[in-house]
């Protein structure tokens, strides 16, 4: 704060977080009692129950053969349903976007913003409070689902989870929350930028669609352009694959997928084609699980990447919001 003192000017009084918890509790109460939230909860609980039930049915036949049986609950799939993590990668962004796309511009349109900002709080508290409320709501929902999955696993499989399984799946939960945080911050940014909630929602969904559907293809295409295979050498294939992977990691979806892979498949040693070759070269036996610390190390860059994107997006919306004229 002292650094803010300019020559001849007093620093701003008080904490920027005055009133933060009032905002958080009010917004959370809104989220948790809203119809929108109810719809999303029903949707996600149904998919969670469905996928995990199917997974458990598959796993019942292999109980005892797998050290990480509980992790399989999240990853096993049985037609016609995809695996639980697939659903999460798809649904979490939607929940996050639905939570915040109208949070700031909605206040504009209801003409409550100037009234709220005329109270003795800073804008910081309002924006951060809204983000935190979304974040806590997301945490609450995802934790509930996680517990549901674990509970169903206990009932259907009939074996208790090991300590490492619990640790790994808890870290997976944390990663999922931050993955949601990225989309939360994105929708918040758009809700600051666009006056119409519908525009903000569409823009958020467009970004989500872009990364879900198109970015993979674009990364592939770009890598073929940038690193063309001229002679068909292994090095060329590897180099191209490396570029494609780097590009696709610009997408939060790729980051999240890689984190979950590292955490939920303990035997995974590296990502992509390179990883597979590396393992063959070193003569490492596929399937021997890594200790948790090593899996975590593998996922660490992606995990920090997710957190960084969240922080970055929030920072941009923060700057936009501070500069915005609040008159309607």
């Amino acid at each position: 704060m002292a650094a803010k003192v300019e020559a001849g000017r007093l620093p701003r009084e008080g904490s920027p977080w005055t009133g933060l918890w009032a905002v958080v509790t009010k917004e959370m109460a809104d989220y948790l009692t809203g119809i929108r939230m109810l719809i999303l909860e029903v949707l996600i609980v149904l998919t969670a129950a469905g996928t995990v039930f199917m997974a458990a049915e598959t796993l019942r036949t292999t109980v005892g053969q797998d050290r990480f049986l509980f992790l399989r609950l999240f990853t096993a799939q049985r037609d016609p349903l995809p695996a639980f993590i697939g659903f999460l990668a798809f649904l979490v962004p939607l929940i996050a976007i639905a939570l915040t796309f109208d949070t700031v511009n909605g206040e504009f349109n209801r003409r409550t913003l100037s009234r709220v900002l005329a109270q003795p709080i800073y804008r910081d508290a309002l924006l951060f409070g809204k983000f935190l409320a979304g974040f806590f709501t997301l945490t609450l929902v995802l934790t509930a689902i996680w517990l549901l999955v674990f509970g169903m696993g206990l009932v259907r499989l009939g074996v208790p989870p090991g300590g490492e399984e619990v640790a790994r799946s808890l870290l997976f939960l944390l990663a999922t929350i931050f993955y949601g945080g990225v989309w939360l911050a994105l929708a918040l940014l758009f809700s600051v930028r666009f006056r119409q909630p519908a525009t903000a929602a569409l823009a958020s969904i467009a970004v989500w669609l872009f990364f879900t559907v198109f970015w993979g293809m674009i990364a592939q295409g770009l890598s073929q352009l940038l690193v063309p295979i001229r002679y068909g050498l292994v090095q060329e294939v590897l180099a191209q694959n490396q570029v494609a992977m780097t590009l696709s990691r610009l997408s939060p979806i790729t980051l999240y997928t890689e984190v979950t892979m590292a955490l939920l498949y303990p035997s995974l040693r590296a990502f992509g084609l390179v990883g597979v070759l590396l393992q063959l070269q070193e003569g490492v036996i596929l399937g021997a699980p890594l200790p948790l610390s090593q899996s975590l190390l593998l996922a660490w860059p992606q995990f920090t990447g997710l957190v960084a994107v969240t922080v970055l997006l929030f920072a941009v919306s923060y700057i936009l919001f501070q500069r915005q004229e609040i008159r309607a």
């Binding site: 000017r9 007093l10 620093p11 701003r12 009084e13 008080g14 005055t18 009133g19 009032a22 905002v23 509790t25 009010k26 809104d30 209801r110 003409r111 409550t112 100037s114 009234r115 709220v116 900002l117 005329a118 109270q119 003795p120 709080i121 800073y122 004229e325 609040i326 008159r327 309607a328």
Partner: protein, 316 residues
């Protein structure tokens, strides 16, 4: 506490090349109702936002109760109540829930907050509907809820932006009475409005805004005298010899102008109230008096006349 509640010096706000507020010098004394009047886009709302520290001035200084709103916004905003133009509430929450949120934002302890909320709702006559969602409220009720909201923080100054806009005449009159009540409690009130005729009735002093500048300031009577010249207009309705009556009216002492405004209708402008003299003059000229009325100086007239002159002045 005799220091001015609001004091600005050469306060200026620019948006790019557009000057929203131009070198404003405004002083509002404690306990008065001050009207910030002028058409839309003349800089009233921008001035208010600067008073609350919601917008930073480009240059000049603002003091609200001795505090700088840009540097000490929390202290200023905890003592100033602001009712924005078309005040909005969370429609799906009840009035009481809306007020509880505001009380929390003000950091008022719970028990005290509940007491103040009950008190404020009671005073604004909203106790019966306090637990209904605000979405079901009429425009007038919302406006009253706006007052109830600012009363929670026990403000020394209340700023209202277009408080009577969109209210039906009855609700507007009630609301103006509310402003009088606030004044009676010693609260200073700043009202911004373009509905001059409604607001002039409650204002002790007014400032007329035009294109970002406060061009006139004073009591309504002062402004009327200054701009409308004579200031006092008497409308006379009388039957009898027209020419003689008109001549008699014109010859009254202190009369500046007399004219016919219709069949058997006359108007006298004077430097003081000429009703008595006019009545006698009509009778002495052989007419019979039917009606006699002193025209209240109207801010609308002041405004229209003033800017007519300004425009003429510019062209000439």
């Amino acid at each position: 506490m005799d220091a001015p509640v609001i004091q600005t010096q050469e306060l200026t706000k620019r948006y790019g090349n557009f000057v929203a507020v131009d070198r404003l010098n405004l002083v509002v004394e404690p306990g008065e109702v001050f009207g910030l009047l002028g058409p839309n886009g003349s800089g009233k709302t921008t001035t208010i936002l600067m008073l609350l520290g919601l917008t930073e001035p480009t240059s000049g200084t603002v003091w609200v109760m001795g505090l700088d709103p840009a540097r000490q916004p929390l202290s200023v905003k905890s003592r100033v109540g602001y009712i924005p133009d078309q005040v909005g509430f969370y429609d799906d929450l009840t009035a009481r829930e809306n007020l509880i949120y505001i009380a929390k934002l003000n950091g008022i302890p719970r028990a005290e907050a509940y007491r103040r909320i009950d008190d404020a709702l009671e005073r604004m006559g909203l106790t019966e509907v306090a637990d209904r969602p605000v979405g079901t409220y009429s425009r007038g009720m919302r406006q009253r809820l706006g007052v109830a909201e600012v009363l929670i923080k026990r403000p020394a100054l209340i700023i209202m932006d277009e408080p009577t806009l969109g209210l039906d005449p009855e609700a507007a009159r009630e609301f103006l009475n509310t402003i009088r009540d606030l004044k009676a409690q010693g609260i200073t009130v700043l009202v911004a409005s373009h509905l001059l005729h409604q607001v002039q009735a409650v204002c002790d002093r007014v400032g007329l805004f035009h294109r970002g500048r406060m061009v006139l300031e004073g009591t309504v009577e002062e402004l009327a005298r200054r701009v409308l010249g004579g200031g006092y207009r008497v409308h006379v309705e009388a039957t009898g010899p027209q020419a003689a009556i008109l001549e008699a009216l014109r010859c009254l002492p202190d009369a500046t102008k007399a004219e016919t405004t219709g069949p058997e209708k006359y108007m006298v402008e004077g430097r003081r109230d000429l009703r008595g003299e006019a009545a006698r003059a009509v009778v002495e000229a052989g007419g019979s008096l039917r009606a006699l009325q002193l025209e209240e100086p109207s801010l609308d007239d002041v405004y229209a006349r003033y800017f007519q002159e300004v425009e003429y002045g510019r062209e000439g």
